[in-house]
């Protein structure tokens, strides 16, 4: 039963990944990408990481895909633009490179050297049990694993605050830097409009003044 569910999700996910890569219309590509993110979230659920699946839906579908959609709308390459076509000269080498990478990865999956304490990765089907065996003996990690699967949100928070505190702070610093950087990149250098003047008049005044040195050309100003 679980196998059938997995195969359905995998086929849907790979199909939408192909759609993302091949779709001419960029909005369609973004929608295919959302479907792929959802398939990945389903994979996380099948791997018993439901919290991560929720994060995947929130962050990827809720934020990243919408941000990409904004990018598509702002660059106006929705359809018919020559950037959406795939140049013929690159088609065969690109597909060949992707196929070669897939073959190498499959070779690696099937020939991986496993840790000595367990069998080959390639043949393992059973997940390690998280409940005590018949004798009631369970390793310490089993208890932790059971807690973390049954109550993942709490355990993730606890782990982030104790074991991974430094990485957590660094991630926060990185997010702040990315926020500041994104604002600094997107901010247009222009003189402040006079107080009380609506923004629209300021923009048209800019367009009349023509392009400033180092600034964007006037065409992009009037496009807003």
């Amino acid at each position: 039963m679980a196998e059938i569910v997995f195969l359905v999700i995998a086929v849907l996910g790979l199909g939408s990944a192909l759609g993302t890569v091949l779709a001419r219309n960029l909005v369609h590509a973004a929608l295919y990408l959302i479907a792929f993110f959802f398939a990945v979230a389903c994979m996380f659920v099948m791997l018993e990481a439901e919290f991560l699946a929720a994060i995947q839906v929130l962050v990827y579908i809720g934020a990243v895909a919408i941000l990409l959609m904004f990018g598509i709308m702002l660059t106006r390459n929705v359809q018919g633009d020559d950037t959406t076509t795939i140049p013929n000269a690159w088609k065969v080498p690109g597909l060949f490179a992707g196929f070669c990478l897939f073959v190498v990865l499959v070779f690696g999956i099937n020939n991986a050297v496993s840790p000595s304490s367990r069998g080959k990765w390639a043949t393992s089907t059973n997940r390690p049990s998280i409940v005590a065996d018949a004798q009631g003996i369970e390793a310490a990690w089993m208890t932790e694993r059971r807690d973390s699967i049954n109550d993942m949100a709490r355990m993730v928070g606890y782990q982030l605050m104790t074991r991974y505190a430094l990485a957590f702070e660094t991630a926060g610093l990185l997010l702040t830097a990315a926020l500041v950087g994104a604002i600094a990149l997107a901010h247009r250098e222009e003189e402040d409009p006079a107080p009380g003047r609506p923004a629209g008049t300021a923009a048209s005044a800019d367009a009349q003044n023509g392009p400033r040195a180092g600034g964007a050309p006037a065409a992009s100003t009037s496009r807003r």
Binding site: L33, F44, V59, V156, L175, A182
Partner: protein, 109 residues
């Protein structure tokens, strides 16, 4: 709970999506689609992390959630990367009036 799904299947799915993402990065010329293909590759890596977390046994001293936490950090980095990437693409679009990665060649001799 013992699942019947072999670990291999998750790995094959991740390998296939990673290859599709690589093909997208190589073939497409639109900068935003290149960004999307990079997201596909990051997601494929995340599936591998979580699959090995669930199917493996943690070494002594490691936390119970190593793979999940690493996947969470990858998601964080990807979000930051997309925010900065979209800002850069918009800046380049304003300057060259195209979202075509082949046109951004000011640094090529």
């Amino acid at each position: 709970m013992n699942s019947e799904i072999p670990l291999n299947w998750f790995l094959y799915f991740a390998a296939a999506s990673f290859s599709i993402g690589l093909v997208g990065v190589l073939l497409r010329r639109n900068a935003i689609v290149v960004l999307m293909a990079i997201e596909i590759m990051l997601n494929a890596a995340n599936i591998n992390l979580v699959a090995f977390w669930r199917y493996g046994t943690p070494p002594p001293g490691a936390g119970p959630l190593a793979g999940v936490i690493l996947a969470l950090f990858v998601i964080t980095i990807a979000a930051a990367e997309v925010a900065v990437g979209i800002g850069l693409i918009l800046l380049c679009y304003r300057r060259w009036n195209a979202a075509d990665v082949d046109r951004y060649d000011s640094l090529s001799g």
